[in-house]
Symmetry: none
Subunit: 248 residues, 2 copies
């Protein structure tokens, strides 16, 4: 993973800079913010991996902000607060905070909790495919990452375009998990997936087309796909088991 990007939200400047610097010294990229609007700006502007959110932000309530963010996004949030009574902590957990840290806190302990939350988040979001050189077997087919070759159950070699094989790899790395179009898009452009020149901005239906084309090559009956299934309203799923043999 790349360096995690944290966002420290606190209206007290001293605490904010202290925390930000502490985190930076410990190998994170950390920015400060003071209001919900600023949080949203930051998230708009770039990836944010974890938010450290103070509960009392002057006029705004961290708990409420947490609730709102949670409804929209899946970004991990650690609530930080001087309010350490049980019912206050419970309110925090209820709105979906990933952790609740009472002030004053031991910085090292906070660090441990930040790491724990990030670790958990990255465990669940293993969309990226790194195991490119492995040999995959799926539904009678096989894909050789080393040669970038696909073999049909009958042993015929099927030629995939570069983008198609990248797409296949994304699915092979995430069997049985419905992938949203944006996720697929992201995975394709992230992995050095040599891609199109046009570099779609996601407005169109490029992914649908790509899936359609891949289906026409690796599905017996593309009209009734057995492996690359549609998850209506979401995206697509690879509906077969995948066996992965590490490269020799």
């Amino acid at each position: 993973m790349t360096i995690p990007r944290l966002l420290v939200v606190d209206d007290d400047e001293e605490t904010r800079t202290m925390l930000t610097q502490f985190l930076q010294q410990n190998g994170f990229i950390a920015h400060g913010a003071q209001t919900e609007a600023e949080i949203r700006d930051r998230m708009q502007a770039g990836r944010v991996d974890l938010i450290l959110l103070d509960v009392m932000l002057g006029s705004e309530s961290g708990v409420e902000i947490c609730a709102r963010l949670r409804r929209e996004q899946d970004v991990p949030i650690i609530l930080v607060s001087a309010l350490s009574q049980d019912h206050q902590r419970m309110a925090g957990y209820e709105v979906g905070a990933d952790d609740y840290v009472a002030k004053p806190f031991n910085p090292d302990l906070l660090l441990a909790r930040v790491r724990a939350v990030l670790q958990r988040a990255s465990r669940s979001a293993s969309l990226v495919y790194r195991r490119q050189l492995a040999l995959f077997r799926f539904g009678g087919w096989s894909y050789d990452g080393k040669r970038d070759e696909v073999l049909s159950p009958q042993g015929f070699q099927v030629a995939l375009s570069q983008r198609e094989s990248s797409l296949l790899k994304v699915f092979l790395a995430n069997p049985h998990i419905p992938l949203k179009r944006e996720e697929i898009q992201a995975a394709l452009s992230e992995g050095l997936a040599a891609g199109s020149s046009v570099e779609s901005d996601g407005t169109g239906r490029a992914i649908d087309m790509l899936v359609g084309r891949l289906r026409s090559k690796i599905e017996i009956d593309p009209k009734d796909p057995q492996m690359l299934r549609t998850a209506r309203g979401i995206g697509y799923v690879l509906a077969v088991d995948v066996l992965e043999e590490p490269p020799a």
Copy 2:
């Protein structure tokens, strides 16, 4: 979602039964265990959604068990311990615990944290999927979560739409339990139940329609449903036994 299954690991019988009962009273399925071997047995035997793991287990160390489990599985773990010093907590987080609760604890707060961890886990979906990939047998029919396929008693494959199969899964997870429309609705929108764009607000009778459509596909005589019975004034019940085989 279905009822979460918790595993309470503690070598002190009193604590263990107290916790188990408390959790059961709050709507969870909870079992007790005392050793790592027992944990593994339980996990072998069936789904476990969350482990509450005491740090001091006589001869065994909860922290080490946690580390081992983490290396193999993705099951959420909350460490419980009388050792509340910072370095001890940090050790817990380091081995991948999802939370660290110090004894003595406020039961309600523990409950909140259990819920928070479960919520997060279901957001990241590793939990839901395990369950959804199971193979269900009911009234001669079978539903293969991996392939998202329904087979009739005669072995014919029946095509269900996404929403229909989501609905079926909800019933399969709650056999013999009359489900209210709101509950079904909630379960459908909660699970990443692929859905429509329209995203019903519950005013209409979408559930009735869905049930009707599902009946027309999996009931011999849709006019006289044997499996998907109507619970007048309440909702619907799946009136057959369900056998669940965990995914390979």
